[in-house]
Structures are given as C-alpha cells and as structure tokens.
C-alpha cells in the first residue's frame, strides 16, 4: 500500500514536469537558413522557419489546393475580383483584387496593409535589390491600393495561376522600407531580417524569432500579436544537425523531439529507425514533387534513337528498385507528373519491365550482342554509356549500381562516373557536358508547366549564357505549342486533355527515364498530432496551429 502511494506520488510529481517539458518542441533539421529575408534567395530551411513565423498571401495547402492565408478569399474571374485586361505591351493581362484579413498584424501589433505589399513589390522589381527570380515582378507591372486592406494587382501576363501569388511576400514597410530607400543595393546586407531578426515586427506567423545561434539553432516563441488560432507550444527550437547519423542519435537521445521530413533523415535511415524505434516515434513517408529521373543526352548518337531509349526503360525493373531499396515507400514514376497532382493521367499506358522487348528493340536498332555480351553496332562500336550522378549521395549511387546490373542483362554497358554536386550541377549538367545519362531530381510545384525542362528554347547553350534546364536537348514542336498554350487556358477542364497530351508525348518520346518520386520521411513523437506534410514546397510548419500534444 505504502509502495503504491509512493508510486502514485511519484507519478503525480512527474506529470507536471512532462507537461511542462511538452510546452517546448525541439525539431531537428539538416540545414541552417542562410538569410531570413522572405524574398532574397530560396532555401528549404528558410521556408521551414518561415512556415512558423510568416504568413504568405496565398499558398498551396496539404491537399495541393491553392488557399488564402493573409487574404480573405481567393479572387476569381467567376467571382468578379479578377478581370481580364490588355497589358501596356498589348498582351493579354489580368487585374486581380485581394482583400487582406482585417485582423492580420505584424508581431509588434502594426496592421499588415496594402502598403506592405507595395513595398515588397517596389523592392523586388528594383534590380539593385538583388531578389532571386524576378519573373513575378516583371509580370506585375502595376499595383493600385484601393484601401489600406485592399490591393489590385495588374499582371502583364495571363495564366491559369493568375490568383496564385505565393511568392509575393508582404514586407514590413514600417520597419524595412527606410533601410531599402536609403540604398537599395545595400539592402540585402542591411535588412532587419538579418541584422535584427528578433524584432517582433518582422514576423506575421504564430511564432516570432526569439534567438539565433548562427549555424546551430533558431529559437521561436509565441507571437503575442498572432491573429489566428493559438499554437500549442510556448517555444519551438529548431536545431541544425547536418550529419544525418548525428541527427538520428540526437533524436534517440531525446535531445530533439522530431525530425522535419522537409530536411531530415534519408529514406533508408528512416526505414531502419522505424524497425528499431517505431514504438517511440511516428514515421510518415510523404511522397512529393521531387522527381528522381535520368536525363538522356539526345545528342548522343545511340540515345538519339527512340528505340534505344525505350529499350533502356524496358530494361529496368523500377518496381523492384523501389521495393528492395526503399521498402515500397516511394512511388514509381512514369512521367514528371506526380500521381497526387490532379492532372496526372493514369489511363495512359505505362512502360513495363520487359527485358525481352528491350533486347528486341535494340536488335531492331542495329545493336547486336558482341563476344563479351555487350551489344555492338554495324561499325563495331560497343553500346557503352556513361551514367553520372552526384557523388556521395548514397541512395543514388545504390540505384546506379542496380541499373548498371539490369542494363548489363540486355547488353548495355554502363560506365559510372560521379562528381561532387557543385561540379555536377554547376558545370556538367548545366552545360550539357554529360556524355549520355545524368541521374538527379527535379523539384516542382503543383500543376507546374514544364517550360524550363521541355521547351526547345530552354536548351542551355553558350549563346544563352547556359540558362535553361532542357538538359536533354529535347525538341518537339507539339510539346512547345502545348507549353505555350497551357498557361493561357484558364479553364481546368480545357487543360485536362492538353495535360494528357503533354504526358503522352513525354512517355513516348522518352527524353528522360522516369524512376520514382522521392518521399520525405517525417519523424515525430507519438504524443504529437496534427502535423500534415504537404509533399510540395510549402512546408508542414505553415499549419503549426494544428499541431497538438496528446497524452
């Protein structure tokens, strides 16, 4: 009896400590944000921190639907708050009116107004400010302030994503405008987001930045002027641990509570962790828009033949790769369109694993088996192709070796040559210097028109200063026309057959060998609920108000 009383007392004493401990959430991340300014540079770690601390006007939610965060409702043509017009350059344009939420405030209590949007636009369109992608600022040629909470944006380009202004992040004009006006060129080094990031007025989300340890951690505390539902945790600490083994150790040691899937463990690590410590943690695998594939250099004489490209695809068992290497946690890809995206067409025939068919196609293309089992053409040249990827990426290197073995079975010799990421992306791929095949991933957004990767004008050349990402050198007039017309087709149902045709061309012409869509492994404690990974560029932290502690 005495023992039971003592144990009960112990539990009761321990309980408040547990609850108190869960007043803070510590999250592990493998990257540290280089800047905290919302519009300078794009970086996953920064997006994750901003998910807690800033609210955009619009974003894609966990169901991949465009949604309002700072605005009261999504403006539409049907609703009358988006109206077609002719842009000053004579092109079709559109004006879209947004109304900001009445209670939206910065962390110092200052209302978020149209002026903050105007400032973000002014700073963004000034070349000296040095913002990253400027397409939005080029297209948005005029802003009319209707009242302090209402703005009309005039776009010089009409696209079906006319009401998605996810990248137009309001900036606190009452704090940062004077700094920018003083010297736009020096703004990126003087902005308060980097000089005094703990100023509450810079933040508009449920949390504000309370402290920083450069390269190590970001501490967030509740924003006293947050205008939405109160978040569960008093404090959130985001710790940067770049080495994923150390990250896992920190989780097991209880030093961090969860690992963000956006920048967390590798898939094989997460699978192993689930087997070892699945009772302690909930592990969620979220397939997303990161598309692992092999770009084929169509200037390579062997790969210029569509039959060889098809044979290569038929010669690999992608299902087995996904099953054996990734425990079936990553969906096989048949095109660049993710099955979670609405325009994915699952009625299109997919290329099966068919080694006999692959051999037949290679025979037809004039490649016959040589004495060493590797095929040769009439000129006696071996069918030997170089497969490159980023050195040090264990998962890709494993896939590479499996592919090498599979293609050997159909008589194709694969030479593996890998390079550090900065050389691979900075030089080899971006300047189309890979001899045959380059294995890497694309990151996109929901319903992303693949202009940069498939339009013939996007083939990188020296004359174009190596811009563009059509690294395969793919040229197809019908694809070009579809890419031109898709953004201009506002009706979703009218776009559906166009998207089908885009996927069909991609799957029959095969400039790229699709492999799989990468999944992020989100690890969180069993006492935490409400985390909804999105699988796209908007991080799960953007809905932190829904995260709850359960006992």
């Amino acid at each position: 009896m005495a023992l039971r009383t003592a144990l009960t007392a112990l539990v009761l004493l321990a309980l408040p400590a547990t609850i108190q401990a869960r007043d803070q959430l510590t999250i592990g991340l493998t990257q540290y944000p280089s800047t905290l300014h919302p519009s300078i540079e794009t970086m996953a770690a920064k997006s994750y921190v901003h998910g807690f601390t800033l609210r955009p006007i619009t974003t894609y939610d966990a169901d991949w639907q465009l949604t309002c965060m700072l605005c009261t409702h999504l403006p539409t043509i049907e609703g009358g708050d988006a109206v077609r017009e002719t842009a000053p350059n004579g092109n079709p344009g559109i004006r879209v009116t947004y109304r900001l939420r009445e209670n939206a405030r910065w962390g110092d209590g200052t209302p978020i107004t149209a002026d903050d949007i105007v400032f973000a636009w002014e700073a963004g369109r000034e070349p000296a400010t040095g913002m990253g992608p400027a397409e939005l600022y080029r297209s948005l040629h005029r802003i009319v302030v209707v009242d302090p909470r209402t703005v009309t944006l005039h776009f010089g380009k009409l696209t079906f994503q006319y009401n998605a202004i996810n990248d137009l992040r309001p900036l606190p004009a009452h704090l940062d405008r004077a700094i920018w006006q003083e010297d736009p060129r020096a703004y990126r080094t003087r902005t308060l987001y980097d000089r005094e990031p703990t100023r509450p007025g810079l933040w508009s989300g449920p949390y504000r930045i309370a402290a920083l340890q450069t390269g190590a951690s970001v501490t967030l505390e509740r924003n006293e002027n947050w205008w939405g539902d109160a978040p569960a945790f008093r404090r959130i600490v985001i710790r940067t641990i770049e080495n994923t083994t150390a990250l896992e150790a920190a989780l097991l040691a209880g030093q961090i509570d969860m690992i963000a899937g956006e920048l967390g463990l590798t898939l094989d690590q997460a699978i192993a962790l689930e087997r070892r410590a699945g009772q302690r943690f909930r592990i969620h695998y979220q397939p997303g828009l990161i598309y692992e594939h092999i770009d084929l250099n169509l200037d390579n004489p062997a790969l210029a033949d569509a039959r060889v490209r098809e044979a290569l695809l038929r010669g690999i068992d992608r299902r087995q790769i996904v099953e054996r290497l990734f425990d079936n946690r990553q969906p096989v890809a048949h095109s660049f369109v993710n099955p979670l995206d609405w325009m994915h067409d699952d009625t299109l025939p997919v290329t099966p694993f068919d080694p006999d068919g692959a051999r037949r196609l290679l025979e037809e293309a004039g490649w016959r088996p040589g004495p060493d089992g590797i095929r040769r053409n009439a000129a006696g040249e071996r069918l030997s192709l170089e497969l490159m990827t980023t050195a040090g990426n264990r998962s890709r290197e494993l896939v590479q070796q499996v592919l090498q073995g599979m293609w050997r079975q159909i008589g194709v010799d694969i030479r593996i040559r890998n390079e550090p990421p900065r050389v691979f992306f900075g030089e080899t791929v971006s300047k189309r210097r890979f001899q045959a095949m380059a294995l890497f991933a694309w990151i996109s957004s929901p319903e992303n028109v693949p202009r940069t990767i498939l339009h013939s004008t996007e083939i990188p050349t020296e004359e174009r200063n190596w811009s563009g990402q059509n690294y395969t050198g793919f040229r197809n007039q019908e694809m070009d026309d579809l890419i031109e017309n898709l953004p201009l087709t506002l009706d979703r149902e009218e776009r559906r057959p166009m998207w089908r045709r885009v996927q069909e061309i991609y799957m029959t012409e095969r400039p790229v060998l699709p492999l799989f869509f990468r999944s992020d492994a989100h690890v969180w404690p069993r006492w935490l609920e409400g985390v909804r990974p999105t699988g796209h560029l908007a991080p799960s932290s953007m809905w932190v108000e829904q995260w709850k502690v359960t006992q």
């Binding site: 280089s34 800047t35 905290l36 300014h37 300078i40 540079e41 794009t42 970086m43 070349p127 000296a128 040095g130 990253g132 992608p133 400027a134 397409e135 060129r185 990126r188 080094t189 980097d194 000089r195 340890q213 450069t214 390269g215 190590a216 951690s217 501490t219 600490v237 710790r239 940067t240 641990i241 770049e242 080495n243 083994t245 150390a246 990250l247 150790a249 920190a250 097991l252 040691a253 209880g254 030093q255 990421p421 900065r422 050389v423 992306f425 900075g426 030089e427 971006s430 694309w442 990151i443 996109s444 940069t452 990767i453 174009r464 200063n465 811009s467 563009g468 990402q469």
Partner: protein
C-alpha cells in the same frame, strides 16, 4: 633575436599575401559560381535573373579585379559580407572562433598534459607493461577515425545511458550546460590528440634518458623525479613543442569531422561550408586567420626551442 623576429614576420606577411591570392583563385576557379548553385536550387531563375545577379555580386568581373577589390577592403579592415550567413564575415567568424576555442583549447591542453605524462611514464621502462599499454592507447588514438569514435561515444553516453547530450551547443547559458555539451566532442578530441603527444614524448624521452648527463645526475644521487623532470624532459621537449605549435594552429582551423558529428558550429565546419558555398569573404577571412595563426605558432615554437636549446641561438 629581434632581427630574427623581424625577418620571420616579414616572411610571414609575404606568405599570407601569396596564400590569399592562391586561396581566392582556387575558390574562384572551382566549377560553378554562387549563381550557378542558386539556379540548380531554384528552377525559376531565368537567364536574365542570372545575368542581373552576377553583375550585382561582381561575378561578371575578372578574377584578378575581384581579388584586388577584396584585398583593398581587407587591408582597410573591411572583410565584407558573408553570403551564406547574411551577416558581416567577421561577425560570423567571431562566433565560430569562440565555439572552436571553447572546444579545442581545453582539449588541446588536456591532450598535451595526458599525452606527455603517458609518454614520460612509458619511456621510464621501455618494453615494460606500461610502455605497451601506452603504445596501444597511442596507436588506437592515431588509427581510430574520429567520426567512428564520436558516434560510439554518442551511442554509449547519449543514446544508451542518456547521461550526456549527443551534440550541439547548449540552448541555455551556464557553465554546467556548456560543460555537458562539450564533454563528448572534447573526449573524442582528447583521446585522438593525446596519441601524438604520447608517442613523441616517449621517443624523445627514451633518447634523452640514454645521455651521459642523465647517468651523471643519477650517479650524483639526484632523485628519479628530478632526473626526469629537470634533466631529461627539457632536453626532450623540442619535438613536443613542434607538435604543440602545430596543434595551436588547429585551434582556429577547427576540427571538421568532430564538429560535423557533434553538430558543433566551429571553424572547421565554417571553412568547409564557406569554400563549398563560394562564400569568398568568409572563406578568405577564415583561411587568412588560419594561415596567420599557423605562421605565428610556428614562429613561437621556434622561439621557444631557441630559448630552451642554447645551441640553436648560434
């Protein structure tokens, strides 16, 4: 002596100037500039954006012009802005340097003290049990990869026993918090560091103990402790000072692998990230600091050797 110091300082200045250009050129000649890296991470960056950003950051200028602009600024104490950390380069470097010193200064001192002590003990009776034990420890320390030892210590003390944090600096201020966070990376570095001290000291002490003046001192009835510490150790200290001089330089260059395993934001990780991220200002400042401290440490080691060994003065 003063003219020697003056000459060495002048040589050091020339070396630093040459090194700064070599480092700048090597970083500049690496494939892919910061804008290329940005394009790889953000498909929305157009050719127009890339050209605009290159011009803005001066990356469209020839390498030599960029270096001269950097050098002119550096000579006036303006080390520029870190692109990776969006802060003045000297501020970023200052924080990392403090973290590195907090970790490496105590571990270097501990390594030296323990290593020299073990070396002396081993040298007293070569091929004895203690000598074999010290040799085994030294070989283990030299041959064990730091990441492996680090991970083992994390698994034992952080994951299994839960006594110490797995890594990172503490969230809260206070000496106790710092000591617990420093314990595992410090232990790793101490174990690895003491090996070279133990081996150098053992070898030098065995040599020194064979000399006639040691026999004379013993014949005159000097106690063994005095023979070791007052007669043999000063004569054996020259190679130990050389090792210490080299170790002193690592205080500012950091310990990359241990910092990565224990998520410790020190100089090693900072230099690595700055070079790979094409953060010229930060990388150059860090490399120059490392070079200057290495040269000064070598100079101090040489002066210490001259002070200890009168033969070197001539």
């Amino acid at each position: 002596m003063l003219s020697l110091i003056g000459q060495r300082l002048l040589q050091s200045a020339v070396t630093v100037a040459i090194l700064s250009f070599a480092a700048y050129a090597l970083i500049g000649l690496m494939p892919g500039d910061p804008i290329d890296l940005a394009i790889a991470g953000d498909p929305r960056l157009s050719a127009e954006d890339a050209a605009r950003l290159r011009a803005l950051h001066g990356l469209d200028q020839p390498l030599v012009s960029r270096y001269l602009a950097w050098a002119a600024g550096a000579l006036q104490g303006q080390f520029g802005f870190s692109r990776l950390f969006a802060a003045p380069a000297h501020e970023v470097l200052g924080n990392a340097l403090l973290n590195s010193l907090a970790l490496l200064l105590p571990t270097t001192i501990l390594s030296a003290l323990i290593g020299v002590t073990l070396g002396i003990l081993a040298a007293r009776r070569p091929r004895g049990a203690l000598d074999y034990t010290v040799n085994a420890i030294a070989f283990a320390g030299i041959s064990m990869p730091s990441f492996w030892l680090g991970i083992l210590l994390i698994i034992l003390f952080a994951v299994t026993l839960g006594w110490l944090p797995a890594g990172g600096p503490p969230d809260q201020p206070g000496l106790a918090a710092w000591l617990t966070h420093l314990a595992l990376p410090g232990l790793t570095l101490t174990v690895l560091g003491l090996a070279s001290y133990a081996r150098q000291t053992r070898a030098a002490m065995i040599d020194a103990l064979r000399n006639l003046y040691i026999r004379t001192a013993r014949a005159k009835g000097a106690p063994e402790r005095r023979v070791i510490l007052n007669h043999a150790l000063p004569n054996a200290s020259i190679p130990i000072i050389t090792v210490a001089g080299l170790d002193f330089a690592t205080l500012v260059s950091g310990a990359l692998i241990v910092e990565a395993v224990f998520a410790w934001p020190g100089m090693g990780k900072l230099i690595y990230d700055a070079i790979l991220g094409n953060d010229y200002n930060l990388a150059l400042l860090a490399l120059m600091l490392t070079a200057i401290v290495t040269l000064l440490a070598n100079l101090l080691a040489d002066l210490a050797q001259i002070a200890i060994d009168p033969r070197l003065r001539s």
